[in-house]
C-alpha cells in the first residue's frame, strides 16, 4: 500500500462511514418516501427493543461474550444475527415452532444463569446454546411481522436493533475487567434469569 502512512485515527473514523451511510441512507429514504417506508424501518427497529423478555436475553448474549473474552466476544455478535434471521425466515415462511414464548422465557433464564455463574463451556457449546435460543427469538419476530410493511426496511431495522442490543451488552460487559464489575455482571445475570422466570410463569399460566 502506498498510503500505508495514513493516520490511524482518520482511517478508523473512515471505517465507520460505510456503516453510518447504511443506517442513514435508510433514514433518508424513509423521510423522502411515503409514510409506509418510514414505518418499515421504525417498526422493524422497535420490534426487538419493545419486549423486555427479548431485550434482556439479547443484552445477556453480549454480557456473556464479554465475560468469556476472545474469541467468544466477537464470535457471538457475528453469528447471532445470522441464526436469529434464520429463525425469522422460518417464521415468515410459516414453518411452525412449538412453544415459542416458553422458549424465549427459557432463553432469558438460561442466558441469565450462565452470566450469573460465569459459565465457561467450550466455544462450540456456547455458540450452540446461544444459537438454539436465537431461533426462538427470530421465529417470534418472523411470525409477528405486520403484513403491509416494507420488507427490506423492516428487516434492516430489525437486524440493526438486534445488533445494537448485543453491542450494548458487550459494552456493559467491559466492566468485567474490574473486580466490582465482575460481581455486578453476575448480579445482572441473576436479574435476567429472574425476569425470565417471570415471563415463563406468564407463558405457562
Amino acid at each position: 500500500m502506498t498510503n500505508g502512512a495514513t493516520k490511524p485515527g482518520s482511517s478508523r473514523i473512515a471505517a465507520l462511514l460505510p456503516m453510518l451511510l447504511l443506517i442513514w441512507s435508510t433514514r433518508a429514504h424513509a423521510h423522502i418516501l411515503s409514510g409506509d417506508a418510514a414505518g418499515g424501518f421504525v417498526s422493524g427497529f422497535e420490534h426487538p427493543i419493545s419486549g423486555l423478555d427479548h431485550m434482556v436475553a439479547m443484552v445477556s448474549v453480549g454480557l456473556w461474550g464479554a465475560q468469556l473474552g476472545a474469541p467468544a466476544i466477537w464470535a457471538l455478535p457475528v453469528t447471532f444475527p445470522i441464526v436469529m434471521a434464520f429463525g425469522g425466515m422460518l417464521g415468515l415462511m410459516g414453518v411452525p415452532l412449538p412453544g415459542t414464548e416458553i422458549g424465549i422465557a427459557l432463553s432469558a433464564i438460561g442466558l441469565g444463569a450462565v452470566v450469573a455463574t460465569e459459565a465457561r463451556p467450550p466455544l462450540i457449546f456456547a455458540a450452540l446454546l446461544v444459537g438454539f435460543f436465537a431461533i426462538f427469538h427470530g421465529h417470534a419476530h418472523g411470525t409477528e411481522l405486520p403484513p403491509d410493511e416494507n420488507g427490506v426496511l423492516y428487516s434492516i431495522g430489525f437486524v440493526v436493533a438486534t445488533g445494537l442490543l448485543h453491542l450494548t451488552g458487550i459494552g456493559i460487559g467491559l466492566i468485567h475487567r474490574w473486580k466490582a464489575g465482575e460481581v455486578a455482571l453476575r448480579l445482572g445475570g441473576a436479574g435476567v434469569a429472574a425476569t425470565g422466570c417471570f415471563f415463563l410463569w406468564d407463558a405457562l399460566t
Binding site: L17, V78, L92, G142, I156, V159
Partner: protein, 196 residues
C-alpha cells in the same frame, strides 16, 4: 411438499417489481445517481460484494471497482432492451445472504471467484433495474447515473476497507457482513411469505 413454497415463490416473483426511481427534480441522471443510495434492496447486495473485495485486499478491490459497475451497467442495458422478467426476489435474497455470510466468515477467496461473484450479482441486479426503468423517460441517462453512483460507492467503501489493519476494524466489517446476511435471510423468508 418442500418444493411447494419454492414453486409458489417463483410464481410470485415473476410479477413485475415496481420501478422506484426517486424524482430528485434535477433530471434523470441525478435520479439515477441517487437511486442506489436510496434503495436498500440495491445497496445491500452491492455493499456485500464491495466489503468482500475490500477484505480481500487492494487488488481485489481494484478489480471489483472495474467489474461491479460495468456488469451492473451491462445488466441494466440488457434489462432495458429485453424487458423479460429477471431474477426472482428470492434469488437476490439468497445471493445477498450468501455474500454477506462470506464477509462475516472472512474467508480468503481467490481473485477470479470474487470477480465472478461481482459480475454475476451486478448483471442479475442490473437487469432488474434496467427492466424496471424501461418505461420511464430518460431511462438510459438514469442507467448511466446508477452506474456512476455504484462506481463512486465502490471506490469509496472498498478503498476504506482495504486500508483497515486493526483487528477490531476488520471485525466491524465482518459484523456488517453478518447483518447484511441476516437481512438477506429475512428477505428470503419475506419473498416466500409473499407467495403464500
Amino acid at each position: 411438499m418442500r418444493g411447494l413454497p419454492l414453486a409458489i415463490g417463483l410464481l410470485a416473483a415473476a410479477t413485475p417489481a415496481q420501478a422506484h426511481l426517486m424524482n430528485s427534480g434535477f433530471g434523470p441522471f441525478y435520479d439515477g445517481l441517487a437511486h442506489p443510495l436510496l434503495s436498500p434492496e440495491d445497496l445491500l447486495p452491492a455493499l456485500a460484494v464491495i466489503l468482500l473485495a475490500g477484505l480481500g485486499g487492494a487488488r481485489q478491490g481494484r478489480c471489483v471497482l472495474a467489474t461491479l459497475p460495468l456488469a451492473w451497467l451491462a445488466g441494466m442495458a440488457g434489462g432495458w432492451a429485453i424487458g423479460l422478467p429477471g431474477a426472482p426476489a428470492w434469488l437476490i435474497a439468497v445471493a445477498t445472504a450468501a455474500i454477506g455470510a462470506l464477509v462475516a466468515s472472512d474467508v480468503r477467496l481467490p481473485l477470479p471467484l470474487v470477480v465472478a461473484i461481482a459480475t454475476a450479482l451486478g448483471a442479475l441486479h442490473g437487469y432488474d433495474n434496467g427492466r424496471d426503468l424501461a418505461a420511464t423517460t430518460g431511462a438510459l441517462v438514469a442507467i448511466l447515473g446508477i452506474a456512476c453512483s455504484l462506481f463512486a460507492i465502490t471506490s469509496l467503501v472498498a478503498g476504506q476497507v482495504t486500508v483497515l489493519k486493526a483487528p477490531w476494524a476488520r471485525l466491524a466489517v465482518r459484523i456488517g457482513g453478518s447483518w447484511i446476511a441476516a437481512v438477506g435471510l429475512l428477505m428470503f423468508g419475506w419473498s416466500m411469505r409473499a407467495g403464500l
